[in-house]
């Protein structure tokens, strides 16, 4: 319930499950290093607000009605991020891709 905010120091998501219920928010407001497959049931706000780094490969494979919101920031790292879910690029904030984003389903 409410908001869980990741800020400050960099985080590492080595796979993992990310569930966000309706009306609630998981804010990724700092640099996040991604690898493996991120899954979870997302009916609330899963917000990508900063820099996502993919050095090799990583996959978004969420279920639920909301998907992941790219609100602001960068996709970097030189690897491949594969999106197999719903990725919403929202707000007027400028976004940057300096690596490979592969869309396999919703984008």
């Amino acid at each position: 319930m409410g908001t869980l905010k990741f800020s400050g120091e960099a985080k590492t998501f080595d796979g993992g499950i990310y569930n966000v219920t309706a009306g609630n928010t998981l804010d990724m407001s700092t640099e996040i290093n991604l690898s493996k497959t991120m899954t979870g049931l997302v009916n609330g706000n899963l917000n990508w607000n900063s820099k996502i780094l993919v050095a090799k490969t990583a996959v978004f494979q969420f279920t639920g009605s909301a998907g992941i919101n790219w609100v602001d920031g960068f996709l970097e790292g030189g690897g491949i991020l594969t999106n197999m879910t719903k990725l919403n690029m929202i707000t007027s904030n400028t976004k940057y891709i300096t690596t490979n984003l592969v869309a396999k389903s919703h984008c």
Binding site: T3, G8, I17
Partner: protein
């Protein structure tokens, strides 16, 4: 040469007789007072050279200070201690005896073994000094709200020993070196709903039970080498001083077991409590560079800032409830939420770095944000392979 040897032998025998002279209570006097000479077999009040024996069937009142080599209270006798009891050699209160310690203290540096019932009564200050050791194999009732100063000496509550704190005493250090309580038996707080305090150093490997009221562990550092900690509903055990932990701490906790100060784990220690409450981390530090395993319930409560430092690791395979809006600084250390671990963020805490190296949260279990609609923040490094749910 022979006459010289004979004289020397007689002299030595005389010395031995003087040094080991027994003065036995006869109770032949007009009252039960210690200083009534007619009560003693030597028809004299005991001196520092006497081994004192109080045989079964008597009541003796130490109305004055008493000095002796040793004392043995036997059978079903009662000794009322109102003044200083000084002994230098091994002494004992036998099973079946009743000792009423209402004033004065134990002095002289001897070792006293209690196998009877030692009742510490009244609010009068009491003392253990001169390196005197009290070994309790039976029962010590603390019925009065006194201060017991352990200036230099110790109470060793042995495996079979029970210290029943029924009132609000303070077991305190004063001056001198090497003062402590060691407990491998049971220390229990019963009766009075007020607060009793142990401020002298303590080493616990036994059980500490708070059945009623509050037991405060304060001031001098304590050592918990395993041990059992039972706290009943509405009762409180406050860990309000530095405590060195090792081994596994168990116990049934349905009341408040409050960690208010510095817990130091040099090697490895485990919290494995049962009951409805778990341990409350109210304030202070986790330090020492070792590993603290929480396999039960730990509640991080109040807004007081909390710290993990000194490259210490907190391993959680149980439940960590983050129940208030505090800041947890991991200066140098790691919070590891292992695969069966749950971190339930129920309020608006901030999990932050401050100073130091190698600080992180590693999650292979479940971190969930529940209950409160506000914003909780994790600003320190996080490595996640588990589940994060909001």
């Amino acid at each position: 040469m022979r006459p010289i040897l004979l004289i020397f032998s007689l002299f030595c025998a005389s010395c031995l007789t003087i040094n080991a002279q027994t003065n036995t209570w006869t109770g032949a006097g007009a009252n039960t007072n210690w200083n009534t000479v007619a009560n003693w077999s030597l028809n004299a009040v005991p001196t520092a050279t006497n081994d004192v024996i109080i045989p079964t069937g008597h009541t003796v009142t130490m109305n004055v200070a008493g000095t002796m080599k040793s004392i043995s209270v036997q059978g079903n006798s009662t000794l009322n201690i109102l003044n200083a009891l000084t002994f230098t050699n091994a002494s004992s209160f036998a099973k079946g005896t009743t000792i009423v310690w209402s004033g004065g203290g134990f002095y002289g540096g001897g070792v006293l073994t209690n196998n009877g019932t030692l009742n510490m009564t009244t609010s009068a200050t009491k003392y253990i000094a001169d390196g005197t050791i009290v070994n309790n194999n039976s029962l010590i009732n603390m019925n009065g709200s006194f201060t017991l100063y352990i200036n230099s000496g110790s109470i060793n509550n042995q495996n079979s020993g029970i210290i029943d704190i029924q009132a609000r005493p303070n077991l305190a250090p004063n001056t001198g070196q090497s003062h402590q309580i060691t407990n491998s038996g049971i220390i229990k707080k019963t009766g009075d709903t007020g607060a009793a305090t142990i401020s002298v150093a303590m080493i616990n490997t036994g059980a500490i039970n708070v059945d009623s009221g509050i037991l405060n562990l304060t001031s001098e550092a304590k050592t918990f080498d395993g041990g059992e900690y039972n706290v009943t509903t509405d009762a409180t055990l406050n860990l309000s001083t530095a405590i060195s932990l090792s081994g596994t701490m168990t116990g049934l906790v349905n009341g408040d077991l409050n960690w208010n100060s510095v817990l130091t784990v040099a090697d490895e220690a485990t919290f494995n409590f049962t009951g409805t409450s778990g341990i409350n981390w109210v304030d202070g530090f986790l330090d020492g560079g070792g590993v603290l395993n929480n396999i039960s319930r730990m509640n991080l409560i109040t807004r007081n800032t909390k710290y993990i430092r000194g490259f210490t690791i907190l391993n959680n395979t149980g439940l960590l409830n983050l129940s208030d809006s505090f800041t947890l600084y991991i200066n140098a250390g790691t919070l590891r939420n292992l695969s069966t671990g749950i971190i339930d963020i129920q309020a608006l805490p901030h999990l932050a770095l401050n100073t130091g190296e190698a600080h992180s949260i590693v999650n292979a279990g479940l971190i969930k944000k529940t209950t409160n609609t506000g914003v909780a923040t994790i600003s320190m490094a996080l490595i996640n392979t588990g589940t994060i749910s909001v």
